[in-house]
């Protein structure tokens, strides 16, 4: 399918808003959000949702690592991946292949983000100067410079990805079948990185029982996510109430402590 100029502009605007929402802290620069909106514009919400789900889980763990790490940007699968999955659907593109193919773009967009932060490193000095001279309007503009930069880059990413799909299609069609099959297999493995990444910050040794619990609930009982979450909540509440009680006992009551020791 072809993308009209109007659709390309719309995708550009949506990407600009979602990408700069990252600075506002409103969680719009996520694969699940971007894919949904791109799917909506291109008239294929179903593929947008499928791409959003797999991409969101694959990218969930990115960005939770220690400060200073530069994670791949969700615009990769969210914009480029979704556009590929929808426009090349008739030539056999699966969401898994689209996810695998979108990683290089995710890396590229992250480099662009780093570049913006670096380019605007001079703004504090300019802002200081503007304040000293009493130019408050200039100061306000400078404090929003990164946001404006994000809007421009976001629009460029959305728009250029949409209008250059023809070139990308030719590029993908030049791929031999074994490579596309391989990318599909890789696309199914790649979410492991996101899950492992988030586990490295969330799971400590004492969480091993819960890792096993989650595995058993899904692999053997095949429960849906909400079911797993509710069973996990049971354990979480037990731990919570116990810890709450302990800290309360610890704070006021020496006598009860003696009694407990006696038992």
């Amino acid at each position: 399918m072809d993308i009209s100029m109007f659709q390309a502009l719309l995708i550009g605007v949506i990407t600009a808003i979602c990408f700069s929402g990252m600075l506002l802290g409103i969680y719009t620069n996520r694969v699940i959000v971007l894919s949904f909106f791109v799917g909506l514009v291109l008239g294929d919400v179903k593929t947008g949702l499928a791409m959003g789900a797999i991409g969101e889980l694959a990218f969930m763990g990115f960005g939770v690592g220690a400060g200073g790490t530069v994670p791949p940007n969700p615009m990769g699968p969210g914009v480029v991946g979704t556009i590929m999955a929808i426009t090349l659907k008739s030539s056999g593109m699966t969401v898994e292949t689209a996810l695998a193919l979108s990683y290089p773009f995710a890396v590229l967009f992250q480099l662009a983000t780093t570049a913006i932060y670096t380019v605007f490193s001079g703004t504090p000095a300019s802002a200081k100067k503007a304040l000293e001279q009493g130019k408050y309007v200039k100061f306000k503009l400078l404090t929003n410079s990164t946001f404006i930069g994000f809007l421009v880059v976001g629009f460029a990413v959305g728009f250029i990805s949409s209008v250059s799909m023809g070139a990308l299609e030719a590029f993908v069609e030049a791929f031999p079948v074994w490579l596309l099959d391989g990318l599909t297999v890789a696309g199914k493995l790649l979410p492991a990185i996101g899950f492992a990444m988030i586990m490295t910050v969330m799971a400590k040794k004492e969480h091993i029982p819960y890792v096993l619990l989650g595995y058993a609930l899904v692999a053997y009982l095949e429960l849906p996510v909400m079911g797993v979450a509710i069973i996990a909540a049971v354990f979480a509440l037990i731990v919570y109430f116990r810890a709450d009680q302990e800290s309360a006992t610890f704070r006021n009551d020496d006598e009860s402590e003696v009694t407990t020791d006696g038992i």
Binding site: T28, E56, G134, F195
Partner: protein, 270 residues
């Protein structure tokens, strides 16, 4: 005494909402510095009404390096403004602001990045996989709504209470975040084995006693012993490489891409 104060409750609410602009000037030099000054600018203007020199100095003093959680920052700005409005020393207010930067970043991250975001992200993805548009919509509504509530609560808390709350708060938060962690770990572990997929394509042929030939897929045997064993092993392997060998995301992507392509070409995985 009340009348002496220049800031009203509405000013604190307004400043809390302006914390959305905290990162609008984000850069690798002062991080959120200029954004912080910008978010408290209207409130400072009220405090230093008719004193342009003091206003300028206050703004210059607040564009320095700052980096904390954008969701928790209203607590800090409210406290700082309350101190300034009560005529306390500018240096003390600055000291408090710098002291709270780290703890608030920690609390904010454990709530939003390790708690809320993974929770709603996984729920939304599982709805979206079923083709429900409720997935992305629920994600946005829940995240934006909860974060707005956190911002306002923090802003009002900082205004009403003093620095002493932070101890109580962080104690309570650590229990809550541990409980949230348990849910997160369980759900993510379950999701990992349902979303990471690796199917062995290898088959072998055995000749039965009757002379008939039977094709046995290795995957079927694996599934009978430990279902979804391979996805679990892949995830554990990646976890190990990150934790023990500090592999970067890019190295891992390279590894899994080449593994996928090679094993598929060799006919091991399908």
């Amino acid at each position: 005494m009340e009348s002496r104060l220049k800031l009203k409750k509405s000013d604190y609410i307004k400043t809390s909402l302006r914390s959305y602009f905290l990162q609008n000037g984000f850069n690798y030099n002062s991080y959120q510095g200029t954004g912080y000054a910008y978010s408290i600018y209207p409130a400072l203007k009220k405090i230093y009404k008719g004193k342009p020199k003091e206003l300028k100095e206050a703004l210059l003093g607040n564009i320095e390096f700052y980096n904390t959680s954008p969701h928790m920052v209203p607590f800090i700005s409210s406290l700082q403004l309350a101190m300034l409005d009560n005529g306390e020393d500018v240096k003390d207010a600055r000291g408090m602001k710098l002291a709270l930067m780290g703890p608030m970043a920690g609390i904010g991250d454990s709530i939003s990045q390790f708690g809320l975001a993974p929770l709603f992200s996984t729920i939304a993805a599982s709805l979206a996989i079923d083709g429900l548009i409720a997935g992305p919509i629920l994600f946005l509504v829940a995240m934006i709504g909860i974060i707005l509530a956190i911002k306002l609560t923090m802003g009002l808390l900082g205004y009403k209470l003093g620095t002493k709350v932070i101890d109580v708060l962080s104690q309570k938060i650590s229990i809550i975040s541990e409980a949230a962690n348990i849910i997160g770990v369980t759900v993510i572990s379950g999701l990992a084995v349902s979303f990471v997929k690796a199917d062995i394509a290898l088959k072998y042929t055995t000749t039965l006693d009757s002379g008939e030939e039977q094709v046995v897929a290795l995957q079927t045997i694996f599934d009978q012993i430990l279902p979804r064993l391979l996805p679990a092993l892949v995830t554990i392997g990646v976890y190990y490489l990150i934790k023990k060998h500090n592999w970067s995301t890019y190295k891992l992507i390279g590894l899994l891409l080449s593994l996928g392509i090679i094993l598929s070409a060799l006919g091991v995985l399908s």
